[in-house]
Subunit: 127 residues, 2 copies
DNA sequence: CTGTATCCGATATGATACTG
DNA sequence: CAGTATCATATCGGATACAG
């Protein structure tokens, strides 16, 4: 038994599939990924074209790739309506909402650190 | 309400430097990065060579790169002793410890999701 | 010991074109 | 509309050699 249960993550990062933390981290890393989650969370369900339009210069290929991975991880849902033309809608799933909380946690740290750095830069410039 | 206390980050991920969350996420993503943090946190301060030895096949180039970025972000500290031969020791900094908490949060989610998936796979196989 | 300098192959992203 | 296919390019990681 290799445990797990101990939140004691694993020393990972180079053995994909073995470390849950690493798997999630890798999923989030690529460009655009957190942006997709952000949009679905703040604007609600969106269709492929709407997402693409809001993201500016992302290519269909990359956007599709991100959506597929997020869907596979059950962070978002994909709903296909076989109308003509077809309509595909993406929305946050339960896990996406859970992840949102921790991402907010990191974000709060990041924002604070940045402001601390700026404050320090200013005080030094004043010397 | 879209609220979130307005730490309402930014819709980012493609504009480096503009979004604090994205900056941190990008820092953590690369292979080895979380591994370095993990080692320093569980084993205490370590020297360059010790880190390299524990990480197996990482190259000096990549390890140096990771350490430089972590140091720049103030997640770890670098102590240089001008002895002969020189000795450089890396250790967790205050921000690294703060980050550790949220990483544990993600890890707990990741571990739970994985076990949920495994449980589902088993029940389906039983049908 | 602790890196830096290079070359190289793998991967990933963007732009473009095309299909159901 | 919602992708898929392909190609060119950029970046990244790995291995090796070498320097302070």
């Amino acid at each position: 038994m290799k445990d797990t249960s101990k939140t004691d993550t694993c020393p990972t990062s180079h053995t994909p599939g073995q470390c849950p933390l690493d798997t999630v981290l890798r999923l989030l890393m690529g460009p655009w990924t957190t942006y997709v989650l952000w949009l679905l969370q703040t604007e609600g369900p969106l269709r492929f074209g709407q997402l693409k339009a809001r993201m500016g210069r992302i290519s269909s290929k990359v956007l599709t790739d991100r959506l597929r991975h997020l869907e596979a991880a059950q962070l978002i849902t994909r709903t296909y309506a076989p109308t003509i033309p077809p309509a595909v809608t993406y929305a946050m799933a339960a896990r996406g909402a859970e992840l949102k909380d921790v991402l907010d946690g990191i974000n709060q740290l990041a924002v604070r650190w940045q402001s601390e750095d700026e404050a320090r830069a200013l005080s030094q410039a004043a010397e």
